[in-house]
Structures are given as C-alpha cells and as structure tokens.
Amino acid sequence: MSSIQELLKGAFKPSVKENAAVLDQILGNSADVQKRDFLLCGKAGSPGLLCFMDGLADTTLVEAIVRALVVTGSQLNREPAELATAESIRTSLLFNATVKDCPNVREGINGILSGDTLVVVEGLDQALLVSTRGWKDRGVEEPSSENNVRGPRDGFMESIRTNTAHVRRRIKDPMLRFESMVIGTRSQTDVNIAYISDLVKEGLVDEVKSRLNRIKIDSVMESGYIEELIEDAPLSMFNTVQSTERPDKVASALLEGRVAIFIDNTPVVLIVPTFFWQYIQAPDDYYNRYWVGTFFRIVRYFAFLISLMLPSVYVMLVSFHHEMIPTSLALTIASGREVVPFPVLLEALIMELAFELMREAGLRMPKPIGQAVSIVGSLIIGQAAVQAGLVSPFMVIIVAITGISSFAIPSYSSSLAIRMFRFPLMIASGFLGLLGFSTMFFALLLHALSIRSFGESYLAPASPYRPTDQRDTMLRLPMWMLDERPGFAQDVDRMGDNQMPATPLQKGE
C-alpha cells in the first residue's frame, strides 16, 4: 500500500507507457476503469492515453476529446511538436468547457474517480484533466418529506452541483459563495459550504470550516454523518442542526445570515445555526397570506404541545388527579376503562408503541403493502383492541390525536425527537402524577435552555428574549412588517421603508 501512496504523491512523467503503468498500479484492474489510446493529430510519433470511469463520465464528452485531439488536430494540420505543453493543447485544441492542467498523480486519480477524464500525451510532463462528469441522475422531484401547497415544488437531489445550482438560481448575488472541501478519506465526498459573505454572521463560516476540518472519517454516506460530527449537543435528543430537502428553505436561511452545508450524494442539506422554533415553521407560512400563515403556525404550535404532552397529561389525570377532570368526562373515561386490565401508564405505553410500530412498518414496507399495513393496524388497534377490552376507547383517541399532531410538525427529524421526549414525560407522570410531569418537563426545559447551536441559544428568540424577532416566531406578521433579519446577521436591514401597500388616492381627494 505504501508504494501506492508514494505513487500518488508523484508527478506525471513524459512517457505515456510509464504513466499507464502508474495508473494500472493505482487503480488495479477495476472493471469500470476505461482507457482509450489515441494518436495526437493522427501522427504516429505522439501517442496519448485517455483514462476515465465508465458510468461516471459522459461518453459523448469523452468522444469530443478524442475528436478534438485526433481529428481536429489533423484537419488543422497541427504538428505535435507545436503542442508540446499541456497549456498549448488546452488553449488551442480542446473545446471542452472545463479543462485544467494536472501536474500530480493524486489530483489526476481523484479526477478520474469523480468522473473526469485524464489525458496524458507523450512528451508532456503534465496531464490534462477534462471535466466529463455526467451520470444517470434521478430527476428533480418534489421533496418527499416536506410538502407544501403553495410554493416551489423542486427538491434537492443526489448531485451536489445540481443542488447548489438550485440555490444559485434563487439568489443571483455575487456575494453568495460556495466553498468546497472534501470529507472522507475513502469516500472523498464533496462538501460545499454556502453563505452570503456580507450577510453571514461574523466568524460563523470559520467555525463551520474548523468543525468540518476536524472530521476524520473514512466515508460520508449521508448528511447525518456530518450532522452528528459537528453538532453542539451530541448527547441531547434535540437536533441542533436543521436539515432540509427544500432549496427555498436553504435560500431563505442563507438570506438570514446562516450557513448551509451541501453534501454530495444526498438530497438533504444542513443549515446552521438552528433555533428550536424553526422546526415548527413551514415555508407555506410565508407563501400564504399572513392571516393564514399565522393561524396555521399557531395550529402547529398546538400540535407540538399535544404531541409532546397529551398522553402524559391523560395518564397523570386518570391515575392521580381525578378531581381535575370534570365529572361527566370522568364518568366517560371511567366507563371506558371499566374492563381494561392494565394500568393507564401501561395502556398508554402499549398504544404508543403500537402506533410507532405501525408507522415504522408502513415506512419500511414496499409502498403498495404499506397501505395494507396501516389498514390492518388501524382496524386491529382501533376496533378489535377496544372491543376485546384491552384498551379503552379514550386511549385510542388520545394516541390518534397525538400521532396526527406529530405528523403536523413540518420537520420530520424534529418530530421524531419530540416523539421520543414523550416517553420520559409519560413514565414520569405515570409514576408521580403532576409532580413527576412537571419535574420532567422542567428538566427538559432546562436542558433545552442550556444548549446552543453554533453560538446561538437554542430557544432564541424566546430565551433570550428578542423583541424584534417576535414578529416572525409565534406569529407571522405581514411581509411589509418583517423588515429585519435575525439579529446575528451582519446587515439586518432587508427592506425599504413604508412597504405597506395602500389604495392610491383618487384625483381630487
């Protein structure tokens, strides 16, 4: 292996044969490595070699290289002697869009493995790396985990360049910068850090870079790998890095002075810093009128509270604090529980687990079967379990409302976190009633207050309280009132004065 490492460090040699031997040694005889020899300008005295990865390189582009080097060269009656440097070949013969000189082997190999084509010509001490990347992609599709009614339907996909282009199309600002780096000693995954250089919070880009540079890992399969290696609260169940499949979310985050991290081979882009409340906000809030946006945002806050607390509150009331239930409701609950053999806590845990089971099974099954699973599951849990007297009808309602509420939270990853927080709360309130519930809730709250995301308090702007940011936290005030970016951006001004529209006055008024 050490010899390969040494070979990688070396430079290309003037001899095509030697270079071919080096490539053979490094790449082995992998089935997907393609080599194509040619004669520069059709002259027998100057052989050359193309090397590319089958499947990663677009063969029409490779053909164009060959045509340029062989056919065009001979048609123009060029002499190989005139083309003795890589620069002259690049500037006077090749017509591919991106061509660069490549002095050392490592760069060349990396290029080949990324889908570029390496060109070596007899007598040149440099190789040429021609960008021929082009492989079969999934087309741009609607994001599967974040749907909306009004707004753009395009979602990120697996190719990092397409993903950055999605964002560039939305922000045609020269200050929008993408900085590239490679993570993964074996996977060599491209990672791009995107930010708007005159908006981004000062020092944030350096912090992101230093955290990314820290990572020493063999491969990055998904953005989750990066997320777990850079987050501030690695032991917490809260996720302090936002992930999204929506280019519009990323673009608006960049415009607020945040940093986005694009990772190749995944449609999920990371955004830092993150606030807890962002998980409850959806792009629709901004695309619909502000009345609607505010209303549905409040609905989602309720959904959050319900999905976090409803089962625990029910368990607590029914097993400890019967006096807090109105009499008629207490009777209804008691009559439903009359034949249930389990304590409420156990009943709640069983039902919650059954629900999670159905959700997970529906997700993992092939799609056509997934529906069957949910039908069978809902029939069995909803109907038969109640009729058999295993669970009370009230508990089915509680679990169903909780489940629906947790699906109303736009961010799937954080709805998972909230779903997990439910269990400690439920167990504490099942053991100790209101006392346990409030202790556990307080512990959760203290924990959430204590964590930070890239230098920002996780619960901001609720704590620390920032009055100007309240316009877009619980409520979504009209667009003409949202004239400031969050406080950490370099430039908080985002709008002119007096943007509120009004009917123009009639003549004579």
Partner: protein
C-alpha cells in the same frame, strides 16, 4: 458521558423509589355524587348514605360489554359515631375506594340538622378531597331514600339535582346554598345560615303505567331551612324563600300570579325582571332601622283578563307591588319574630355601615335585630309592550 449515564440511572431509580405513591386508577374508584346524612338508630350516631356512580351503566356500552344491573347508581349506607367513622364503615360494603371529589351535594335530614351541623361543616371543609362548591340541602324525607331516587333527565341523579341548584334562579324558590356560603354564614356573627330544602314529590309519570299518576317520586328543590347558629330551627315555604332570595342572591326575575283588576275570578301572570333590591340601614336611638327598596320591571306573560294592556298596566303595577311587599314583610316577620334568626344577612349590612357600633351590639345582635324597624317600599313598572289583540273592543 459517565456522569450523564449516572444521572440517567439515578433519575430513573428515583422514579421507582416513589413506588407510584398516590396512584389510583380512575376505574378503581367509587365516585360519590351525593351523600345523605341522618341521625343513626342509636342515639348519638350518624347514618351516612352515599350515591355512587356505576360508570359502565351511567355511560352505556363503551367498547367491551361491561355487564351490570342497568342502574346508573349504587347506593349504600353505613352508621358510625362520627361522619368519618361512618365513611370508613362504608368500606365494608364498597368494593372500591370511596372517592369524594366529584360529590355534587350533601343532603341532611331534618332531625340531623336540628341537632346541629357544626360537625358536618367541619368535616366537609377539613377534608382535602371534598370541594367547597358542593350543594347543601335539608330534607324532611329520609336522605338515603332521597339520594337513591332516580330523578331528572340526567342519567346520574346527583347531576340532575346539581342542575336544579345551578338553575335555582329560574324558578327562584330556593337558595343555592353550598358549603362555601354555609360555612361563611356559620362563622359570621352577623348572619345566620339558610339552606335549601329538597323533597321527594310523587310527580314523575311512569311511561309504562301512565294511568297511575305520580307513581314515581322526584326530587323537588323548593323552600329552605332556617338555622340559628348551627341548629335548624324551622322551614321557609317556597314563597318565603323567594323573598329571602332578594336579600341573599339578588334575585332578578320570577313569575307571580295576581287576580285580574276587572275580574276577581280571572288571573293575570306577570314576570318581574331586572328586580333590584337595595337595603339601607340606620341606627337611631340605639335601634336599627332598615330601609328596603325593591324596584322592578315586569312583563305580562299570560293574561286571562280580556282587556288591552294599557287598561291593565296601572292596576297590575299596584297589585304586584302589594304582593311583593307582602312577601317581603312575611319573610322579615319570620326572621324577626318567629325564628329570631338573621338569615337575611341584614346584620352584614348594618355592620358594614356601623362598624364601631357593631363592636358594642354585635354580641347581642339577635335581640337587637328583634327590635329592628323596617320600611318597605316596592316599585313595579309593567313595561309589557306586547301588541297582542286582546279584549272585545279590539278584535
């Protein structure tokens, strides 16, 4: 990481440490909705009866077949030397723990109330499970019979009586006496308790045997029991109770029937509305004097007089004024002369106005109250604007 795991371990152990203290599933409780207190068979004992809900029958079939008698309530009684003793003795019959927090009412028998209710008030205010907004009533029937009677449209009879109390202003014939105002009056030196009266009346008509009129007994809320200190001393009739309601609960509306001004045999029904009573107290020559003014509007709601409204108005005003005045005089007379008990809370009004004098006379308020003078003035205005063709001349 180590400390994190340790904290996690300890906090989960802490939960187990509590061993679910206070845990009681809701379906393991015998929820009491009404309680009756009577004197026991042996002298000095208390007989306590409780109306307990059977949830499965009170709420019908929810889910699995629950089985049962079909009766929404289960009533039991027990005796003991004190109330709490009797409650503990209830446990001899009840398979579930008796739970009091949803109790709607406490019904006292006349004999128990005449012996004194201080014990009862103490117990029901001391216990943390019991609520202060529980209704309190006195009955001349047997309390255990009263609370085990299925009454009202509500499935749970306790709930039905609760609704009666809540709507007591509609009929306006009994005070809405609950634990809170009972204790308040009992502790106060300037007022005496008055408690609503519940009675069983054969007024329910059986669907199966409608020809047997009144074969079912129903609980009626009308009238009141008057107390001096903690002992009951007599009854108020429903009409007297209504007059007392003007003093106690600022009664605003109700109906009264008077004779037609043009024909003694026909009746005119008036509904008084927005009634407002103001009581002023004076202290002259070491004697209290109360000026009572009742001002009210009224509507004609049913007229058998066969004459247009305009011709009735003045006469109706006058006779309703007279009737109201008489009612108020009656109840004042009862309080002052017959029962020697200031249950109308006139003492409160006097004390608020003359706090210094109250320090002197407060101890002997009952004697001083007996010598009080009253000026009663009623003012009724029939405002009925119903344009209803009535009378021979109009048709």
């Amino acid at each position: 990481m180590r400390t994190f795991l340790l904290i996690l371990l300890f906090s989960s152990m802490l939960l187990l440490e509590s061993s679910c203290v206070g845990l009681r599933q809701i379906n393991e409780l015998a929820i009491v909705t009404a309680v009756g207190i009577d004197t026991g068979n042996k002298p000095g004992t208390v007989k306590l009866s409780a109306q307990i809900i059977r949830p499965a029958d009170a709420r019908g079939q929810t889910g699995a077949p629950a089985g049962g008698t079909g009766q929404p309530i289960y009533s039991i009684s027990a005796e003991g030397n004190t109330i709490f003793d009797a409650i503990r003795n209830l446990g001899r019959f009840s398979s579930r723990r008796v739970y009091w927090a949803h109790n709607f009412m406490i019904v006292l028998s006349e004999s128990y109330a005449r012996q004194g209710i201080r014990d009862m008030v103490d117990f029901f205010t001391r216990n943390h499970e019991l609520r202060m907004n529980t209704w309190v009533a006195v009955t001349s029937d047997k309390p255990d019979e009263l609370i085990s009677t299925i009454t009202g449209i509500e499935v749970v009879p306790g709930e039905a009586v609760d609704k009666l109390f809540r709507n007591n202003q509609v009929v306006g014939l009994a005070p809405g006496s609950n634990m809170m105002n009972l204790e308040e009056a009992l502790l106060s030196t300037s007022a005496q308790p008055v408690v609503a009266r519940l009675q069983l009346q054969p007024r329910g008509i059986s669907n199966k045997k409608p020809e047997e009129h009144g074969s079912l007994k129903q609980v009626e809320l009308a009238g009141a029991a008057v107390f001096r200190e903690d002992k009951m001393i007599g009854w108020l009739t429903p009409k007297e109770a209504r007059a007392a309601l003007f003093f106690l609960e600022k009664l605003e509306s109700g109906i009264e029937v008077i004779n037609c001004p043009n024909n003694e045999n026909r009746r005119l029904t008036l509904e008084f509305k927005n009634a407002h009573m103001s009581v002023k107290s004076f202290y002259e020559n070491e004697k209290p004097r109360f000026q009572i003014r009742l001002k009210s509007a009224a509507d004609i709601v049913e007229s058998g007089c066969n004459v247009p409204v305009e011709q009735l108005r003045d006469a109706a005003d006058a006779s309703l004024e007279k009737l109201m005045k008489q009612r108020i005089e009656n109840v004042l007379d009862k309080a002052q002369k017959q029962h020697h008990s200031d249950f109308l809370k006139l003492g409160d009004i006097f004390r608020n106005k003359y706090p210094q004098e109250w320090k002197r006379v407060g101890k002997d308020w009952n004697q001083i109250f007996a010598e009080a003078k009253f000026e009663i003035e009623t003012n009724v205005d029939v405002k009925s604007a119903v344009v209803k063709a009535a009378g021979d001349g109009i048709k």
